[in-house]
Symmetry: C2
Subunit: 229 residues, 2 copies
Amino acid sequence: MLSSPRAVVLLSGGLDSATCLALARQQGFKCHALSVAYGQRHAAEIAAARRVAAALGAHEHRLAHVELGQFGGSALTDPGIAIPEDRAGDGIPVTYVPARNTVMLSMALAWAEALGACDIFIGVNAVDYSGYPDCRPEFIAAFQAMARLATKAGVEGCPLSIHTPLIGLSKAEIILQGIGLGIDYEMTVSCYQADNEGRACGHCDACRLRRAGFMAANIADPTRYRTSF
Amino acid sequence: MLSSPRAVVLLSGGLDSATCLALARQQGFKCHALSVAYGQRHAAEIAAARRVAAALGAHEHRLAHVELGQFGGSALTDPGIAIPEDRAGDGIPVTYVPARNTVMLSMALAWAEALGACDIFIGVNAVDYSGYPDCRPEFIAAFQAMARLATKAGVEGCPLSIHTPLIGLSKAEIILQGIGLGIDYEMTVSCYQADNEGRACGHCDACRLRRAGFMAANIADPTRYRTSF
């Protein structure tokens, strides 16, 4: 009997990455979950990632620190920039972290190659997202092309695949897929400014997209908020 | 008068990256030197990088820690794997670090975007190198294509350029360029297993390529070795 193929799954502890992990498990992968601590404010996400990895049957879960926050340029890493609330507007918001997904995918690539894994999962989404350039399908395709040239594994016959099972789904569709896989979304934290107990603000972009998703899916929102609505 | 354009220059403290920094300075860039500490054994390189940044007029020098060593798979980060000495052989050696240049370029990309810089310099070399896949021109081209899609800057009209001024040069040619620019290579450390004072072993791949380069260039080798030859 063949053993399960290994995959590295990027896991932030939010709704999307939890669903991505559940889908990778459903596809039969032995999942090595990776959380990257890059100086983000929302450290409650890391605690959520630990809960999610355990609940969804990750084979192992690792945390890698990367000193990305020192470069600044984002409300998620710079305490001097306020997280926008109840934002209405176009353009790339101040919560964009320069090169964040590139750095996280690079770390996943390093671990995948060390493990002998040819598959990486990332829960990016190009529909109900915030306009980040590194969530677009053309970015993912370019990263995959680069990764295949970057690695010894790529040279020796294990071409890396970057899986983005959520990229074409609306937030409501993501939630319905996850509910079908038995995910309890209460354990996930999406909020950009969750408190230490992981309770959400309800007003940042991440909260608004998440709330709207539960409403559109006609699923009761299990998110723990600091205030009631 | 226009101010100098900014560039991020990856600086390991070795011969190649020092020459790359000098060339970037010669081209008129205000250079933000970045050293990435990824768990490599040769911490003496970091001290060398500080000396080189100061001597060659970097505008600033930063060190970013990235927990890449925890994934293993390389003699440079795993004390359980010996550094090969006096190696004769083909193939990608055990000193290859999975995805190292991808991770380092990603960190440079993050800083470049935060700075508003459109230029990144990396001293990779495809001639007298050790067979690493992430030193090849096709890898660099793929990274640049990915970087232009990854960033807000790329979307908004500052396409990233990855400069590799050494990629087509032999080690002797690199040395002659650097000597012409006044570099004192004694301050650089290339050895994979330098001691705490930065003295080189003389036998690892990095030392052998460097020694052969000075010989081919007919330049007295200023490297500080632990033993004399």
